[in-house]
Symmetry: D2
Subunit: 501 residues, 4 copies
């Protein structure tokens, strides 16, 4: 409402009350102005009212929402379904232009602002999370793996001779595929076992670089966040190798923003050596739906080059999600989530430790991994070779999601490459194990439920084993009783559900 | 509500009424069952009630919505903002798995179903639109250009020697960039002028294939939908060349689904020759927000190969949009939109013709282009070399979006390649011109408003020219009067706004 | 966004584009200003974007949405559920104050504006619908019946001696109860049969007035909209009687706004005689959810008196609904609905006529009733005394809603008063009949489906009758076949469903 | 989705995953079933997912949502605006039938269920809040005052001779008006001062009953929740008087559900004497928007009689709000709110006490009032007779809502009755004072902000007074500085805003 509208309002109801309302409006406007002027995440989260006002204001700046617009192009932001228009707050034009995903669209000032602001906020959060000297970043509506591919494709133009990517092994398919899709040959560097931990074999990396010749190497592709007992790569040392041999360095920081340790590694790597870009998942770090990644780096122009490699306009949906999320949380809210995650990691760690000891198993000692834990499944594996996978499927049907059992000896071929001991990041890890992680947003009830159900499953599997006979293995009565209990559980436990979800 | 709930309901209110309600429920369920069983777009659109019920049902099949779920993984579909969860109907897990964007997710049966069903519906619509023998397709949450890149990257693994892509020129940056990003060298084939039309130079293509050698050519990259006076490529003949030389053929069908002519070309190309994949924009053809494309083809396994090249999970947002849209429209609704577009094309064509003649200009004769039109700006260009771009900006400020003026002699360098006569698809088109298109969803009021404003702008520009002095050119008073008129327009014209928008 | 925000936006994206967006914003603001200044329904409906912006602007003027508000009262507009807040657009404070439902609330300038504006728009629509000289009106969140009660309670203070209300019979419980609840004694005036029509017995009214004495009569309570064969009361003549005897006159115009005839009667009554207030349903006339009524009249101060009788604040929900509806439709949209209703009345009339003749029945000749029709069920009634109600329940289970069968001889006691021939507005109507109405929003498909199903039901009932045996009556096989057909119907027919519903 | 749909789903994605989803669905259904079977508020709040599923299920049981429905009545639940339909979850038919607001509607099984269930849940909460022997209740979409009117109108039929209502004075207009509107003569019983408290004058009540004669008295109309220094009426003693004289007793329990003391009084009154009905606000006790009340009582049939007095169908909106709210909160959530309110009352009490002493004022000792507090404004009043109202308006402009200053000597005439000392519940309270209340949903930040702003305002007023000159009083500079501070406040303080609001 503009001045004239307020004046008209004053004639309809009391001027004093309307002025009070007008004054109140200014508080919302003030917050929006601060955001646009400073380009920083507000310390304190906005309430929905301010947030929706802001999105509404952005939307009416896009040509598809102009009251008098007439469209005679091939792409006019027309939407057939009112449901669809509404769920996108009528921001239909996406982000970027043909040449550049960060570019401004003449038809869509609002969407363009959204894109800019979102990238600013995300940059702000990366700094807050520990990479203080990051120079630029952008949100791209693609998976982390595909975003890594985009980085590799960008590097190709700078290093036309290069064919290889040096890659300390991590058993996650999309990391591997990101290189294959880009058309390069991954050179797998096996990890070394130090105590229980699997760590980067720096000697092997260096040897390989020398063997292949730096010019033939597109980059080193390292990883921070990963499943225990693998731990984040030795980024500092890798960054120094890259600097020394003048090789680019791309870091897969998939869910590392949530961990100050991972972020610190990146900050240090960039300080002492070379890191060209680091890529992280939007959903895994910022609690938004799957679909976006952030490509960040220490050299503004290289990041811009990557953003110019995306041919075409892109979905604004992941940007919108993270914008809403960060404005709702504020930087304080995000900090709080980071703090809680860390606490939950300790709690999960302690609870698993206790439980594992009760079953003569052991929590693997992996102090360098700040997110994922692994607990041995030795006794299970000993008696029965299918017991480990059986445990996995029991947990699945009991609505434990994300727990991951890793049996020995699994072999898998991905895009023509064969990995022995697949899932364990090494050819021969000493034992089978189970992974659990403390990721951002985890609640104490998640831990408690997990421990309780794991306990029950282990008990059941043990009982089966003691019967020492395969034919009894799938005995459904037993499982059914468990199921019944579970169903009761569900109803009771939804008590503890987070009301805000 | 299940049987017991209905029974309880009957005790609370009259059994007869509850039974009536229960019966009514079955009609909704029946529609959902038909969809799942047949995998086809319903003829008649669903009402919002059925649609939301369906989305709700899908959502509660995903683990993040299980009442008793506990998550101990690194990606559990947790969402920080209730606004975000709501706008995605709580479908958070995206689509695909690390290895394959079409794969099923154990944690997310609902999202997986959504993905499958959406791809089925879209396949159905491609058939309906004219490509009857299409074998498979999938929605990918990337721009058309990036999707073309993915196709090229997939072909690389099949044709390791290939370095070149044969590309009949079309002046749209992202088409060109899609090849650059994939790391190939575009071989630009200039178009030939036939009457007013710019058409594929088949001889030049054939000559180039022979010159470079088929094995060194990754594929021919042709285009259907484009701005007049360029017309869709001669797909049949190109497809025959591809078949004869055993070269893959990728078609950029950006906004061609909406045109039976473009679809017919693809169908014919595949019948008489070779087309490996054709790629189309989701937003431009299905009236959804920017952000997705459909990769389709005639060989099921090749399409699957492409889908397996996407490393990581992807945003479900574009799939969700098109699912909602198609279920709301039904195939009849979509057919109606196609029919209206065709009618609007004739209408636009006639109106522009009339107007152009009044100004001694001419509608270019481009019968092979079913979507875009071009009208000469000769008289404008003659007097004043900035008059053409001036017209463009006048239209822009008058809220005409999508109209595109093409002056003579523009030169642009894209990724190191220099294009003379950029925007006109040829080095030296005979005259400057203005483009307008009839795209899906266009309304008669768009045409009428456009013609009215174009008329007014041409009048103003002419007046300026007759004053024959540059300094008067930007005289703001004049423009301001126009602006005032426009503002009044806006308010009056919103009358004709489509209420459903 | 204010000036500074736009300036900041210009620094982030291009100034020209932001200015375009800012200009576009003004069009929305302009519409809002016109509304507030003129207090009239816009001719053309607003789009959702403007509408939601307006509601948002209203909401942030209410103290519960002030960012810095602190509440220490007993009623602070706090809302426990975000779903609830959202569905009310955060307008929580309701309308009115303790003393007056039309009063302004200091805590809630936005809600107060909403209340004023809504009443203005509704007044505008009443004029448009035909009562040009209406002086004032207000929306009250109560049923029509309860609103009539409020009118009667207001009159009590003006006529302390009065005990009776003169009421030409209409067989609708809540009309009758409205008087009982207010504590008055209804004096039922039986209707007279003129042709097929039941009309007001003016002589009886006059005689009763003289018998009881004008001072003992609170008012005459007449009715416009009603089920055929009753027709609207002779308002002009009643109004003249009221004027002559100085008796107040309250008109129940329940669903009469949608009919120019009913509105004309009121306008004429007020012109030639006396009408103090006329009350109409919000939902029945404006296609909003059940829950509100409009109390209108020709004397501003009397309407204000009524509004001051409502003790306490009231729900803003019905006002919000009608505000959204009228702003979406615009006056042109509402006119269109009125026109379509009239057309549908003719169509329904013709179709029923044809069908009835095929079954040797007759459409009753009730030219004074502009909304409701009645068709005889003589042949049905003759053979079987339960056949009429049987037909009613068959229609019900076939999802025909609103059809109403009126058997002969039904007797009902309401609040101690016994009505013979209940539902037929007279003690002894010559025959049983079936009612159908053409109400606002009815579609051709409603008529077609109704005719088809009625045809089928009549056929079935006839077949039953011809078997001439009661025990066969409920033969379920027969019904089941019908049911099966119906289910198929449902799915097929949803084709014709109005997509906008 | 039904069995066949799940089977079809299993063919599309893995059966194991679909079965898991199907299982998960059952948890939601189970909660719904429990609700319908037990008719009790779930202990633990439902998540939005279950809640919306439930509302959706209810909606599709209503005829306006039947896919194959055809409507030929005058009220078919048609909705013109999609926004309106959506905000009511497509539940359009309202609650009740012509004769009875609690009756079942044949056309709307879903809305009827909603009505029943809501009344059950509300009954459950009234018991939980302390009135264990309540027999029946219903939600009515009217203000508390209008609901009281409905009770009085119902009693009229049982006590035709009665003209008076005995009413211990409470200075709240709508309480008084509720009797006037019903057509009765309020007999005001002045309160007696006991210490600081104003309490019921039982002797005066008894004397008045005897003077007027019990048969001439419609009822005693007592009050629980009220502004200090008035305290809840002596319900037990009044109830005994009612029992002894055989006079009905209606209790205005406006915002008393939130206080165990008020509820205890009602429970005790009913145990030892007579209470016919007690009426409470929906919004003030359950944190929903303004618009509904609950009429409850100890005699099932009397409550039914009242519900049968409402002529017509009524808005379901308040019922829907409270249903959503209670299902979201669960009984545990509601208990928690009650507990927090009590704690906040102590906190507010202590903080005000401290502040008042700093200004030589005094917190009035009103131990019987569990919600409202009063602090003297003696020193203010002494110097300047407008200072008290000035303070009120200063608080208002500083966004303190609900604080209420009560100057001495205010006189007001309501419906012809003159109240001296209006707002203070007595003719001559010893001093001016300020009220603040701790109502349900109040947060610590509300208290802190209030205390801080009150402190600042008192300081300013004092400063003004010391200048001892009237002309300086409105010196705006001073206020402006305050305003500036406040604006800064707003932005900073929104930090502490409850994110869930």
């Amino acid at each position: 409402m503009n001045r004239e509208s307020f004046a008209a309002g004053e004639r309809l109801v009391s001027p004093a009350y309307v002025r009070q309302g007008c004054e109140a409006r200014r508080s919302h406007e003030h917050l929006i102005r601060l955001l646009l002027e400073k380009g920083k995440c507000p310390e304190n989260g906005w309430d929905e009212s301010t947030l929706e006002l802001f999105l509404h204001e952005l939307a009416i700046m896009d040509s598809n929402n102009f009251l008098g617009n007439c469209g005679v192009g091939e792409r006019e932001g027309r939407v057939a379904s009112a449901l669809v228009a509404r769920r996108h707050y009528r921001l239909i034009h996406g982000i970027g232009r043909s040449g550049d995903i960060s570019a401004v669209q003449p038809k869509a000032a609002g969407s363009s602002l959204l894109n800019k602001i979102t990238n600013f906020l995300v940059l702000d959060m990366i700094k807050l999370a520990g990479v203080h000297t990051v120079a630029n970043c952008f949100v791209v509506p693609m998976a982390t793996g595909m975003s890594l591919t985009l980085c590799f494709l960008t590097l190709r133009h700078k290093r036309p001779k290069a064919k290889y990517i040096i890659w300390p092994r991590i058993d996650q398919k999309s990391c591997f595929k990101s290189m294959i899709t880009a058309g390069f040959e991954p050179v797998v560097i096996e990890n070394v076992l130090e105590g229980d931990e699997l760590r980067t074999d720096l000697q092997a990396v260096k040897a390989k670089v020398q063997e292949l010749g730096p010019d033939n190497i597109l980059c080193i592709h390292s990883t921070t966040s990963c499943f225990a007992p693998r731990v984040p790569d030795r980024l500092e040392e890798l960054a120094v190798i890259c600097a020394n041999f003048d090789i680019p360095h791309i870091v897969n920081n998939a869910y590392g923003v949530q961990s100050s340790k991972c972020m610190h590694l990146i900050q240090q790597g960039a300080r002492v050596g070379r890191i060209d870009a680091f890529v992280q998942s939007l959903d895994k770090n910022f609690m938004v739906p799957v679909g976006g990644a952030i490509i960040a780096g220490f050299n503004d122009s290289f990041i811009q080059e990557i953003s110019k490699m995306y041919p075409g306009r892109a979905s604004a949906s992941p940007s919108l999600d993270v914008l809403i999320t960060l404005l709702s949380l504020g930087s304080n809210g995000y900090k709080k989530l980071l703090k809680e995650r860390k606490e939950m990691f300790s709690y999960l760690s302690n609870q698993i430790k206790k439980l594992s000891e009760a079953y003569n198993e052991r929590l693997l000692h992996t102090p360098h991994n700040p997110i994922s834990l692994a607990v041995t499944l030795k006794t299970l594996d000993k008696h029965h070779d299918k017991a480990v996978t059986q445990l996995g499927s029991m947990l699945f049907t009991r609505q434990v999601s994300g727990a991951r059992v890793v049996p020995l000896g699994s072999v898998q071929t991905v895009s023509g490459y064969t990995f022995r001991g697949f899932m364990s990041h090494t050819n021969n890890y000493p034992c089978a194990y189970l992974n659990a992680a403390s990721a951002i947003g985890m609640k104490m009830q998640d831990v408690d439920l997990f421990i309780k159900r794991l306990d029950r499953c282990l008990k059941t599997v043990r009982k089966e084993q003691s019967k020492d006979s395969d034919d009894n293995y799938d005995k459904t009565e037993d499982v059914d009783i468990e199921e019944m209990a579970l169903k009761l559980d569900n109803v009771l436990l939804d008590t503890h559900q987070d009301a805000s979800s």
